[in-house]
């Protein structure tokens, strides 16, 4: 069993949206619907300012409320890992998972099923990074298995300060932001 995590260095992220475009091409998401997005947060008053950019997506929670609430079992953890997938054949489009997701990471496709970030599990299965990570021109995104102590993601979380989003939900999210 693998514990996949994405670690994103907000010190380096420039909010360019390459992750969004790369995801869109790789996964052919429908026009107007995206599996990832960029948030800009500026604090302070001119000229005492800080800006944080965050590339956001499904957090592939270890304790995923979307999986727990799915009445058909369409939302599931992939191969016993924490990667959350939706099996379109079993999805009825009831949207319970959309209500249950704290991150607003899911959408309904024109075909009627729910879709979301897959951590590019089709690439992960081939030993590749997700498309967003592979294209990021600032190298601010990292992907790997937290259970492997030697992985870059484990190393980064070991030595840098980090945060997760909405950590109080108990969902145990797996997208980490280095601060």
């Amino acid at each position: 069993m693998s514990h996949y995590a994405m670690v994103i260095d907000t010190r380096l992220c420039i909010g360019c949206g390459d992750c969004v475009v790369a995801c869109k091409s790789e996964n052919r998401t429908p026009t107007g619907l995206n599996r990832d997005w960029v948030v800009e947060q500026t604090r302070g008053r001119y000229p005492d300012l800080t800006t944080e950019f965050r590339s956001e997506r499904c957090n592939h929670c270890s304790h995923a409320t979307c999986v727990l609430c799915c009445p058909t079992g369409a939302s599931h953890h992939w191969q016993g890992s924490n990667i959350v997938l939706v099996d379109a054949d079993r999805c009825t489009g009831c949207k319970a998972c959309i209500a249950a997701c704290p991150y607003d990471a899911r959408y309904i496709t024109p075909e009627g099923y729910i879709d979301k970030c897959t951590f590019c599990h089709h690439r992960v299965a081939k030993g590749l990074d997700p498309a967003c990570v592979a294209t990021c021109p600032t190298h601010c995104m990292h992907f790997g298995d937290l259970d492997q102590a030697s992985s870059r993601v484990a190393e980064l979380l070991g030595k840098r300060d980090y945060k997760t989003l909405l950590s109080g939900t108990g969902n145990r999210p797996n997208v980490y932001y280095l601060t």
């Binding site: 420039i14 949206g17 390459d18 052919r28 001119y46 300012l49 800006t51 089709h122 294209t135 600032t138």
Partner: protein, 725 residues
């Protein structure tokens, strides 16, 4: 390759943007890449950086473009725009067939015609101009890979008038200032060794919002290694947010800061004595010149506290030579831009970073022989003397001067070719002149992929295929390591579009100039050139990028000292050449014109999602950023009763009112300035996604500050008021 299957598919224009609809019910789509995948090498044309990558098609349908891992320009990672490159192919508004103006000039009444008709028309008009006025009376304005083909055509015909807006509207001051100081330009890609720098100062350069790929990557590397980043910008740019020092300078006062930095570096003895003594000329004059420009003086001009000016000068000096002031790229701001760039060049010389690790490296390109073909004869006349004599030091054609030279009965230019550059949104305040030029020209040809504003002025429109459907010259840019990259067609050209090499050759043959284009297919040229350097087209089709060993060191050393192609053979801190032509031999600070009561200074820049107006109709990039926003400080917004999401219009001092543009209220801009990304507010009429969307900074520019040295257009003295839209 699967190209041929591809053209047969109906509704191709929607590919890559609307994958849905092909499937029904709640059945999942197959996983990406599970079909038959083919890859074709490409060189991106979404911006001039020209990263090398791979075009992926799955089951014959366009899928994605990724970077080539061997490519130094991209490090295997394309930027936002490059990743969205398929949108340039899929754009449903592309020019589809040649078109000929059939009504009077100025109206967009074009009749679709055959290639034969369009090319014959152009050839006849060219001959006519040659007979009536002389064969040296055609001009080319160009930006992009295929421009060289038309340049060759016009040169063979006997005309040499040539300009790129990337000179007079962008990098001109930097190019001239570095050539004056070091005897050579910074070049492209910029030779900044940021990955190894310990301290980097950006003067108004918003790397991160401009996504020049290698620049973004090396700056990011520097930040990751905790290099000291100093960003000088009135706006809290993305780079400012990554900086240890953000200096929110008063707009247009950069030279004052640079002079104060020189003052501190010299007076506190922080400059590189060895470099200055061995390699520079005019240090004593410089020392004397900067004595009165201490940080306290600069404070009054720039609004920056003296301690911050000193601290940042100390940082620059402490890390030298692994320390640099970035020359920037778009440098046409206030009209004294060559002087500002000279000041940047001089601070760098004091840091002794030329050819040093962490400063400026020595770029090297491949010595690639030209395909054996007759050389066009030398120009019969001195066209620069005829059209831009007032800027004798300008090494390149000045685009707006070329347009001015199209106006009037006695005009120097009688026929104009415009290749892939949308003049009305590129050159500030050019609309009226372009109208007059179009009236007087006997021939105007526009070559482009999309119906832009400039196509409306043409007599003939030639539809070029996108970069994903054509061969172009090999990319051979100076880099850390010499390398070649191949652009190969990934798909058959859509509609009736054609590559530039084909158009130029066809025209040449109709003009009896076929001998200058002695190839049936451009692959012959590419293969021959590659064979000369031990490669082949076959090899490049497999690998896309080939890197060659360097012949010189990446940096200079005691055994391998630098030489400078200036008149003195030294780095000219004091420029005798400038003095001889009546310009300031040492950078002089001129206080900028201020907006005045009720006006704001309009600042503009790039957004990472777009290459200005060339990509705003790209369906993939349009989705990411459909419109630009007008950034207002909260005080400005409150004064005008505006909030984020409202629409406003800018109005300049001569009464021009802009398009409605959506307001973004943010602390990231000062209360005295406004900011917007350039490239929006298209009015061409044929761009269905982007027409009429967003604001165009260019049309607001009424107070252009011409740089006397380069002839370039300073665009940051535009003052506007606001109206609710």
């Amino acid at each position: 390759m699967k190209r041929r299957d591809f053209i047969k598919l109906p509704g191709l224009a929607a590919l890559g943007v609307a994958g849905g609809g092909l499937l029904s019910g709640c059945q999942s789509r197959p996983l990406p890449g599970s079909g038959e995948v083919t890859v074709t090498p490409t060189v991106c044309e979404i911006c001039f950086w020209k990263c090398a990558g791979w075009v992926h098609a799955e089951n014959g349908e366009p899928w994605k473009i990724t970077g080539n891992a061997e490519d130094l320009h991209s490090g295997g990672r394309l930027c936002t725009r490059g990743s969205g490159g398929l949108g340039a192919y899929a754009d449903r508004d592309r020019l589809r067939q040649p078109m000929l103006r059939v009504e009077e000039k100025g109206r967009q009444r074009f009749k679709p015609v055959s290639w034969e008709e369009a090319l014959s028309f152009i050839a006849e008009r060219m001959e006519q101009i040659g007979e009536r006025h002389g064969r040296d009376r055609l001009a080319l304005l160009s930006h992009g890979s295929g421009g060289g083909q038309f340049k060759r055509l016009l040169n063979a015909f006997g005309s040499h008038i040539f300009a790129q807006p990337s000179y007079a509207q962008c990098r001109g001051p930097r190019q001239v200032a570095f050539a004056l100081t070091y005897g050579e330009d910074v070049g492209s890609p910029d030779r900044t060794d940021m990955a190894n720098a310990r301290c980097i100062a950006l003067i108004g350069s918003h790397i991160g919002e401009n996504l020049h790929n290698g620049q973004v990557q090396t700056l990011s590397e520097a930040i990751a290694r905790d290099a000291t980043l100093i960003t000088v910008d009135p706006r809290f740019s993305v780079a400012a947010g990554k900086s240890r020092y953000w200096l929110p300078i008063g707009p247009g006062t950069d030279i004052a800061l640079l002079l104060a930095w020189m003052h501190v570096l010299i007076n506190e003895d922080l400059y590189d004595h060895r470099f200055v003594e061995q390699h520079t000329l005019g240090f004593e004059q410089l020392r004397e010149h900067v004595q009165s420009f201490n940080p306290e003086w600069a404070w009054l001009e720039t609004g920056l506290e003296p301690e911050r000016i000193r601290a940042t000068a100390h940082e620059l000096g402490r890390h030298a030579p692994a320390s640099l002031v970035h020359p920037g790229r778009h440098t046409t701001w206030y009209g004294d831009d060559t002087q500002r760039e000279r000041a940047i060049a001089i601070v760098n010389a004091l840091l002794g970073n030329w050819g040093q690790q962490g400063g400026f490296y020595r770029p090297e390109k491949v010595e690639l022989p030209a395909y054996p073909a007759p050389k066009p004869a030398k120009p019969a006349s001195d066209w620069k003397a005829a059209i831009q004599a007032d800027h004798p030091l300008a090494p390149k054609g000045i685009s707006h001067k070329v347009i001015e030279a199209c106006i009037g009965d006695q005009a120097q230019v009688k026929g104009l070719f415009v290749y892939a550059t949308n003049l009305p949104m590129t050159i500030p305040g050019i609309a009226d002149k372009l109208n007059r030029a179009a009236d007087d020209l006997e021939l105007m040809v526009v070559v482009d992929t999309l119906p832009m504003e400039v196509t409306g002025y043409a007599d003939v429109i030639l539809p070029e295929c996108s970069y994903l459907e054509r061969h172009d010259d090999l990319r051979n840019s100076p880099e850390r390591e010499p390398s070649l990259a191949l652009r190969q067609p990934a798909f058959e050209p859509l509609h009736q579009s054609k590559p530039a090499w084909w158009m130029a050759k066809q025209l040449a043959e109709r003009l009896g100039l076929g001998e200058y284009f002695p190839w049936q297919d451009y692959t012959e040229v590419l293969d021959w050139q590659l064979q000369q350097v031990g490669s082949s087209l076959e090899e490049m089709e497999r690998i896309g990028v080939k890197t060659f060993p360097r012949k010189t060191g990446l940096y200079f050393s005691a055994d391998d000292p630098p030489s400078f192609r200036t008149a003195s053979g030294k780095v000219e801190l004091y420029s005798q050449l400038l003095a001889d032509y009546g310009y300031d031999p040492l950078p002089r600070y001129t206080p900028p014109q201020q907006p005045g009561e009720g006006y704001y200074r309009m600042l503009y820049g790039r957004a990472p999602a777009h290459t200005f107006g060339r990509t705003t109709n790209n369906p993939v990039l349009f989705e990411l950023m459909p419109e630009n926003h007008l950034w207002l400080h909260p005080i400005t917004a409150a004064d005008h009763g505006l909030k984020s999401g409202d629409y406003a219009r800018m109005k300049n001092r001569v009464g021009v009112r802009g398009n409605p543009i959506r307001v973004r209220v943010t602390e990231r801009v000062s209360p005295r300035d406004l900011f917007l990304a350039h490239g929006f507010g298209h009015k061409a009429g044929g761009l269905r996604l982007t027409d009429g969307v967003g604001g165009d900074d260019g049309e607001m520019m009424d107070n252009i500050k011409i740089d006397p040295i380069t002839g370039s257009t300073g665009m940051r003295a535009t003052f506007v008021t606001l109206e609710k839209a």
